[in-house]
Structures are given as structure tokens and as C-alpha cells.
């Protein structure tokens, strides 16, 4: 009969440690929070530049200001979880290739250089090993699609800040239409 006593004592110690550890771990969450959910600050700056290339600003805000980066960052920790590795690899690849080709980070290139760089990607003509097997083409398509989804989708997903694309397209959001079809 002394076996359970010994076990319960051990278990008591273990559980007490776990409880204390749990409280400690939760309190660890109280540290400074990151600016982004998935992206690093450096990746986010690059994403802003890429988004502006995909949807250039004119009299209306471009992809960067409209929140494309926030949208993709938010979705990458939700429905786009499966694209995390592509983004990490692709964004690093863009910076590495930019350093190789222009000796500068992508966001520091002038507008035409950025456009030329992305045209190479879109055509699948990047030479660096990271872009093997058509990853340049694929990653460009991914960013383009996600930028469009952000810009033209509902702002609840993190993009289309202040419903800017709806205003540009002169669409009422929310839609104004009455349902009351009878007279009292």
C-alpha cells in the first residue's frame, strides 16, 4: 500500500512544477510583442515594395499603402499557413538576387530596376539556384494573386484598408439597398 503514496507524492511534485511552469510560461507572453505576425520587419519592408510594384500607387493608394503586407502576414498565420515556407524562401531569394544583380536590397532599387527585376521573375528567367524548377514564376504568381486578393477583397481579411478599392471602383460598401417593398 505504500506504492500509491510514493507515486502521489511524485505526481504532486510534478504537477506542482507543471502548474508553476504554466503560470510562468503565460507570464512570458507578456514580453514585447512583434510588429508582424509572420514577417520580420525586413521582410515586411520588402513586401511593401513588391505590393507597390504589383499595384502601383496613382491617385489612389497602391498595394503597399492599402495593406497588402498586413493581409498576407495575417493570412500566413491562418488560411495561408501552407505558404509560409514559400514566402520565407522567396523573399530571401529576392533579396539575395537583388544583392547579386544590383548590390542593393530590392526596396532600395529605383522603380524601373524593381520592375525589370520582377519582369524577369514573371518570365521565369531568374538564374540563381534558389529559383530552380520555376520557383521564380511560381512565387511571382503567388505574390500577385495574394496582392489582388488583398486589394479587392473584404477589409476584414486585413487588406483593402478603408475599403480603398471599393471607393476607387465607386462601389458602395456596405451595399445600400432597401428591402422594404410595401407601403404601410
Amino acid at each position: 500500500m505504500d506504492l500509491p503514496d510514493k507515486l502521489s507524492r511524485r505526481r504532486f511534485m510534478r504537477l506542482a512544477a507543471l502548474s508553476a511552469g504554466g503560470i510562468y510560461l503565460f507570464s512570458r507572453c507578456a514580453g514585447p510583442t512583434a510588429e508582424w505576425r509572420f514577417f520580420t520587419s525586413s521582410e515586411a519592408r520588402l513586401m511593401d515594395a513588391l505590393a507597390d510594384q504589383i499595384i502601383p500607387p496613382d491617385e489612389w493608394p497602391g498595394g503597399g499603402e492599402s495593406g497588402v503586407t498586413n493581409f498576407i502576414d495575417k493570412q500566413l498565420t491562418g488560411p495561408f499557413l501552407r505558404f509560409q515556407s514559400e514566402y520565407r524562401k522567396g523573399l530571401k531569394g529576392i533579396q539575395d538576387s537583388s544583392e547579386t544583380l544590383y548590390h542593393q536590397r530590392f526596396e532600395n532599387l529605383n522603380w524601373k530596376e524593381q520592375t525589370s527585376f520582377l519582369e524577369l521573375m514573371e518570365a521565369g528567367k531568374m538564374n540563381e539556384p534558389v529559383w530552380a524548377d520555376g520557383f521564380d514564376l511560381k512565387f511571382f504568381g503567388l505574390i500577385r494573386d495574394h496582392s489582388m486578393q488583398s486589394y479587392y477583397g473584404s477589409s476584414r481579411h486585413g487588406g483593402n484598408r478603408d475599403n480603398i478599392s471599393y471607393k476607387m471602383l465607386k462601389l458602395d460598401y456596405p451595399f445600400i439597398v432597401g428591402q422594404n417593398r410595401y407601403k404601410s
Binding site: F12, A30, R37, K74, S155, V177
Partner: protein, 354 residues
């Protein structure tokens, strides 16, 4: 004897285990509900955007639990909600859009009315305090217009279910009854239909009394007090971001006020899809009152407009008539001269009053 021994061992293990878990949970629960929100709810980066907004708003001194409750304050609903947040946090899935079900929304509303008693009293005295039973069991209404999913856009925007799960039958013959009776006394347009608690922007600053003459110029423009909750996307859209109605009277474009609060009204008091003036539930002012905002005359909470004429019209107007006594729908519901689109010629035929 062997069975009894195993049961004995299980009991010896289970009782201390239960006690330890209870004490551990109690300690954690106590800590979580008494510590600063910055060290508890607000420490999760998933909800940092919402926390950022509340810390800048007029409600910044409220603790999260005062509106969102604790993990145990709303039974299974809150346990499930908080539990899912922890599970998603561990899984690395962002869960920043904290959604409340209708019961929780009404709980938040109870909190609103702890302080905003005047607004609550006004709301109760007006048409926006209608309950599910007032709307969905109204035989005259239901015989005239078939119940459909979009009813909930303005009447029950926080309903957790579709119209078909609330009331039956969905036809114009009736008799109508609720499928779930618990909804009958719930308000269909609670505070959060037009107000967002986590407001963007800053509250009005304290005036600079060292220079009182400058008080007017020191005011900031804020449209954030009103937001429309759109059921389709389950988000609030700040009134300043709501579209300004383009309204047509035949081929003429009506001048519509750009007042953000009116944009909120128009979301439900809307014309038909062709945006023709006076269709569906459009009451946009035209005629002598064209360009007015709804709240020029109506109190936003009670909708009361009985004192509104006095705001602009002197007791005796330029034509020596008290406007409140004129033949308009203000005085008499059956008057042909609707106050919303009253024109000069309605009363002054040929330059003279009828």
C-alpha cells in the same frame, strides 16, 4: 479484492490530482482576472490591434473582462471561445478577430448601459429598441413581405443563425412562431449595431484653458462614435468610411448630406437598388429640407423629432405661421405632405398657401 484495491489506488491518485488541478487552475484563474490586462489578455499578439485601439479610446480604463467576461462568466460559450484562443495560439494560427455570439453581445450591451443610462432610456423610447417578437411576429408585415435572409441585416445583425432557424414558416401565410423562444425578447438593434467599442482614433482632448478663445479651433474632427455592423462580413465599418448615398429623383441627383451619422442611417433606411428617392425605406430629405442630415431633426437614440422644428424655425415663421401647425406629416400621419420631402409648392400653390 483486486478490484477494490485498484479502485482504492485510483481514488488515492485521483483525489490529490483533482485538488492539485483545482488549486492550480484557481491560482491561474485568479491571476488572470486580477492582473493588469497588459500581462494577460493584451499580452497575446493575436489581439494586439484590438488592444491598441482600446488603449487609445474613451474606454481605455475598462479591463478586457468587463466586456468580454472571463472564461467562466458566460458558461459554455466563453469556455469554448477562450479555449479556442489558447488552442489556436499554441497551433500558431492567428485568432485576432475576436467574435462574440449574440448572447455575449447582449452581455456587452448590459455593460454599456451601466454608464450610458441616458442613451439607453432614449433608445428604449424609440423604434430601434424593437425586439425579435416585435419584428418577426408582426402579422401585417409578414403578410406583406416574405421573410428572407436579408431581414437580419438590419433586424438581428448579431443573430447566430439564419432566418429559417429563427422563425417559421418563411412565407406570407403564417401563423408565424419562433423556432427558438429564447430569442423573442432580445433586441434586434443593440448598441453594437451602430457602435464599435474598439474605436480607431483618439478621444477628444481636454481644452486648453490657458487660451479659451482658441477652444473651437483646438477641436479635432472625429467620426468614430458611430460604426455600422455589417452582418455579411461580421465587421464594423466606421461611419466616416460608409458610402454617401447617391439618390435620384427621376433623373435629378438629390443633394444628400455627407454627415457620417446619416450614412449609418441610410444603411438600413435605404432606397431600392436603383436608388430612386422615396422607394423602399428611403426617407432622405428632399424639397425644403434637402441636404439635411437625419440627425438635424431626429435624436440618434430615440429617433424623436418632436422638438426638431424649433431648431431652425422661429415660433412664428416668415409667413407668420407656426410650421408645426402646417398640414404636414409632422402634424398628421395621414397628411399628403410628407415632412421628409415637403416642397414649397405643396402649401404655396401659386404663391399662396392652400
Amino acid at each position: 479484492m483486486a478490484g477494490k484495491s485498484i479502485l482504492h489506488k485510483i481514488l488515492i491518485l485521483a483525489i490529490p490530482l483533482f485538488l492539485i488541478v483545482s488549486i492550480g487552475f484557481g491560482l491561474f484563474y485568479g491571476y488572470w482576472n486580477s492582473a493588469s490586462p497588459k500581462k494577460t489578455c493584451a499580452s497575446c499578439h493575436e489581439i494586439s490591434a484590438s488592444v491598441e485601439m482600446i488603449t487609445q479610446s474613451a474606454h481605455r480604463n475598462l479591463a478586457c473582462k468587463e466586456c468580454h467576461g472571463t472564461a467562466l462568466s458566460n458558461g459554455v460559450n466563453s469556455l469554448r471561445e477562450k479555449g479556442m484562443m489558447i488552442i489556436n495560439h499554441i497551433k500558431g494560427v492567428a485568432d485576432e478577430d475576436v467574435k462574440l455570439n449574440e448572447v455575449q453581445i447582449l452581455g456587452v450591451m448590459d455593460n454599456c448601459t451601466r454608464c450610458h443610462k441616458t442613451e439607453q432610456a432614449r433608445w428604449l423610447s424609440g423604434g430601434h429598441s424593437a425586439r425579435y417578437q416585435d419584428i418577426f411576429l408582426n402579422a401585417k408585415h409578414n403578410k406583406t413581405e416574405q421573410l428572407n435572409f436579408d431581414c437580419l441585416r438590419c433586424h438581428g445583425m448579431f443573430a447566430d443563425m439564419s432566418i429559417g432557424n429563427i422563425v417559421e414558416p418563411l412565407d406570407t401565410t403564417g401563423p408565424w412562431k419562433f423556432k427558438i423562444n429564447s430569442v423573442s425578447a432580445r433586441p434586434v438593434i443593440p448598441c453594437l449595431a451602430c457602435h464599435q467599442i474598439h474605436l480607431a482614433g483618439m478621444p477628444q482632448p481636454r481644452p486648453d484653458y490657458s487660451n479659451p478663445q482658441n477652444l473651437f479651433y483646438g477641436r479635432i474632427t472625429s467620426n468614430s462614435l458611430v460604426s455600422f455592423y455589417t452582418r455579411h462580413d461580421k465587421i464594423h465599418v466606421s461611419a466616416g468610411n460608409l458610402p454617401i448615398l447617391k439618390l435620384w429623383e427621376g433623373v435629378r441627383l438629390v443633394k444628400v448630406s455627407s454627415d457620417p451619422i446619416m450614412r449609418n442611417c441610410i444603411q438600413c433606411h435605404a432606397p431600392n437598388a436603383g436608388h430612386q428617392a422615396g422607394t423602399s425605406d428611403d426617407r432622405t430629405p428632399r424639397g425644403v429640407h434637402e441636404g439635411f442630415s437625419c440627425i438635424t431633426c431626429h435624436d440618434p437614440h430615440s429617433n424623436n423629432a418632436r422638438q426638431s422644428c424649433n431648431k431652425c424655425h422661429p415660433a412664428i415663421s416668415h409667413c407668420k405661421i407656426d410650421v408645426k401647425t402646417m398640414n404636414t406629416s409632422f402634424l398628421n400621419r395621414s397628411s399628403p405632405n410628407n415632412i421628409h420631402w415637403l416642397s414649397c409648392t405643396d402649401c404655396h400653390k401659386g404663391g399662396r398657401r392652400k
